[in-house]
């Protein structure tokens, strides 16, 4: 729904209203252009500017980590962020808006896939240049993107279908181990599995197959939860899914062939930023289509009232099985990507701690909302990294923030919000 502002709206006089008016009429393309200019600026001038300002190197995460380590650097960091990010992005976005609006308007006349691909390519360029500054940034970015996938797939079950499922770490573990075993067995010389069975050179091309197989393994595991969910729901299902998580973890710990409790290492580093980015985009796109499809609506109906949905000819069993397997598939793919980013998989990683993390991301972002999941996952990942200098006190501040969010917005920051690609891609009219 488009917001309308009357000419004498009181919010024009306030600072916020003025800023909003100044930035109105900038399409998403404009913002991406602005970000591109900013990261290019940082790439070429970042080192020089940080030297002039007296910073040791370019601040990794917008200076937050640096400020927490040395609070006296606050003005310098603010100046850096202002000069490199805030001013270029806002100026470019504002003054290129006639141009970007025209481009967006032209693009929207073609099938909207063209426009979407162009936007995504630019976004990828932004990410690529931004993450080129340090390996730490690259890792944070990759893990955030994977967190988006995990959170989205859990939101499909917990938010859209309304089952409180605790099984996600189990699916992640299945995917991570499935994909890792395939890649290590076939393409890597390893002390567990010996010489590779296929020439390693074709490995990167078959990597997606390994990920998909890991995802399929996870969806087979989802059947274990989906079938009992016909007879019960709610709290009992929570226990069943929790038991499933423990069973998977314990099973992997007892399988000596995949390394047992020591974990499985020497995965090839094929999860490049491009791979992770493409899989994340695919995941967001497919899940967004899924939740708007008939099946997604059926899942919503099951959540709201199962017996009523059944009476209204919704095939609740099929809905549950498909939704569980679908969500598990994406969790499995995310797990595979994760194992190949870290290049190590350990059953201890897929325990209750992970469950708490993922649940926090879903409920921070918001139930029943694709945008919410993205916001929650990225927010929690960045927050977790940014507050790292605080040591263990990080684990007091983050939970407190989450409790406050829960108290003031019990369903999460952005809950029950639709995500429309066309709305994002189209040019903005000036208010």
């Amino acid at each position: 729904m488009e917001k309308t502002y009357s000419p004498i709206s009181p919010d024009q006089s306030t600072g916020r209203g003025r800023i909003r008016r100044w930035f109105s009429g900038i399409p998403v393309l404009g913002w991406i252009f602005g970000a591109l200019v900013a990261v290019v600026l940082e790439y070429y001038l970042g080192d020089a500017l940080s030297e002039v300002l007296g910073l040791e190197k370019v601040p990794a995460l917008f200076g937050v980590t640096l400020i927490l380590k040395k609070p006296l650097l606050l003005p310098k960091c603010l100046m850096f962020v202002g000069l490199i990010y805030v001013i270029p992005i806002s100026v470019v976005a504002k003054y290129l808006s006639p141009l970007t609006n025209r481009i967006a308007g032209k693009l929207i006349q073609y099938p909207y896939g063209v426009s979407a691909v162009l936007h995504l390519a630019l976004l990828y360029a932004v990410f690529y240049i931004w993450s080129d500054v340090s390996a730490y940034r690259l890792l944070t970015l990759k893990l955030s993107l994977i967190a988006v996938m995990i959170t989205l797939s859990l939101n499909v079950v917990n938010g859209y279908m309304g089952e409180f499922s605790c099984s996600h770490p189990g699916f992640l573990a299945l995917g991570a181990y499935g994909a890792s075993v395939i890649t290590v067995l076939f393409f890597v010389k390893d002390k567990l599995f010996g010489a590779p069975l296929l020439p390693p050179a074709i490995g990167p091309y078959l990597y997606p197959v390994a990920l998909v197989l890991g995802g399929l393994l996870a969806s087979v595991g989802a059947l274990v939860i989906a079938v009992p969910s016909f007879r019960t729901r709610g709290d009992y299902l929570a226990i069943i899914s929790l038991a499933f998580m423990f069973i998977v973890k314990s099973l992997i710990e007892n399988l000596e062939i995949v390394g047992g409790p020591r974990g499985l290492s020497s995965q090839p580093g094929w999860s490049s930023l491009l791979t992770v980015f493409i899989w994340t985009v695919l995941c967001v796109w497919i899940i967004n289509n899924f939740v708007r499809s008939t099946l997604g609506k059926a899942a919503n109906a099951v959540r709201d009232d199962e017996s009523a949905a059944d009476a209204m000819t919704v095939n609740t069993r099929r809905t549950k099985v498909v939704t569980f397997m679908f969500a598990a598939f994406w969790a499995g793919v995310a797990g595979g990507l994760y194992a190949h980013v870290i290049r190590y998989a350990n059953p201890g990683d897929f325990g209750i701690q992970k469950l708490a993390d993922v649940l926090a991301m879903v409920y921070l972002g918001g139930l029943n909302s694709v945008v919410g999941s993205i916001v929650g996952a990225v927010g929690m990942s960045i927050l977790g990294e940014a507050l790292r200098p605080l040591g263990i006190y990080k684990w007091i501040i983050i939970p407190l923030l989450l409790i406050l969010v829960m108290i003031f917005r019990p369903t999460g920051l952005i809950a029950f919000r639709e995500f429309d690609v066309r709305e994002i891609l189209k040019p903005k009219r000036r208010m």
């Binding site: 409180f164 226990i239 069943i240 409790p261 209750i352 649940l359 006190y393 007091i396 989450l402 369903t411």
Partner: protein, 307 residues
């Protein structure tokens, strides 16, 4: 046979921890329909409070000429820790759960998880990462009963747990507040309209549950005298399993399920390699829930689930 009996004794002790924690969990769960994910950490804090109280009493007693007998110190520790820990429980309810009474249940569950993390981190910040050892309140004496070795600690633990379970049972069955709790478990939307103060009863439930958790924590400290800030997590989730396995709203069921969980774990470890403990224990639970989807004493409910 002797081997079996020996393990039965061990299982009885192990199960009584689970049962005590599950009782507190189950009370909150049946009355407010909340997943109190902070309960395991309240148990952990209870153990630490017990450690503090016992150390203080020992220090005070050693100052005076006549030292108190050990059983008296244990009783005092349990009573004072119960009292202190019940305040913690009520505080958690007031801060984390009461504002979310009308919110989706899962939001309250997340708040509980986060409160648990705060408690762990708080204890970690206070005591550091090193494990601390619980002061030895009972000198271990081992009795040999026809080949079955029973320590006096085990007897004390089982006796104290059973005593508190019976006391809770009497409280819930015989008193006015107990009746209010049962009514609330039956329908907590309508019962407050009849003049039952929901907030008081909720705070009281949390208080009693946390007091029981403190008892469990101290008994844990007596049996395995090493405390660490993360020990509560796994017990909290096991209590969650036991409370739901027992059936919604059934205190008896929670006790039974707690003991059953302890028995399964000990006997699995007895027959199979102990690394398979979780695997087999949870598989059995999964099977039980498949055949009895509403727990032991739970009624099937088709009420509309609030997300």
């Amino acid at each position: 046979m002797v081997f079996f009996l020996q393990n039965l004794v061990n299982a009885l002790q192990w199960g009584s921890f689970y049962a005590l924690i599950a009782l507190g969990y189950s009370m909150v769960y049946s009355i407010l329909m909340l997943f109190n994910f902070a309960h395991g950490d309240i148990f952990m804090v209870g153990a630490y409070i017990g450690f503090g109280v016992a150390s203080c009493i020992l220090a005070l007693a050693s100052l005076g000429a006549n030292t108190l007998p050990n059983w008296l110190i244990l009783v005092l520790t349990i009573l004072i820790s119960m009292f202190l820990n019940s305040f913690l429980g009520m505080l958690v309810e007031r801060i984390g759960y009461r504002p979310l009474r009308d919110a989706p249940r899962a939001s309250a569950a997340i708040t509980g998880l986060m409160i648990g993390i705060i408690l762990e981190t708080g204890i970690l910040a206070l005591f550091g990462a090193r494990r601390i050892s619980f002061p030895p309140l009972i000198q271990t004496v081992t009795y040999n009963m026809g080949g079955v070795f029973v320590t006096n600690k085990k007897i004390v633990i089982v006796l104290v747990s059973v005593m508190f379970m019976l006391a809770l049972h009497q409280f819930v069955r015989r008193t006015k507040y107990g009746m209010a709790m049962r009514a609330m478990a039956f329908d907590y939307v309508v019962v407050p309209l009849m003049g039952v103060p929901l907030n008081t009863i909720a705070a009281m439930t949390f208080g009693i549950g946390s007091a029981l958790a403190a008892v469990a924590g101290i008994l844990f400290g007596v049996a395995y005298p090493v405390l660490d800030p993360y020990m509560g997590i796994i017990y909290g989730w096991k209590a969650f399993v036991a409370a739901i396995l027992g059936g919604r709203g059934s205190i008896m069921g929670a006790t039974l399920a707690g003991f059953l969980l302890g028995f399964i774990e000990i006997f699995v470890a007895m027959i199979f390699p102990s690394t398979l403990r979780d695997l087999i224990a949870y598989s059995i639970i999964l099977l039980i829930l498949v055949f009895r989807p509403h727990g032991f004493f739970g009624e099937p409910y088709s009420a509309r689930l609030r997300l």
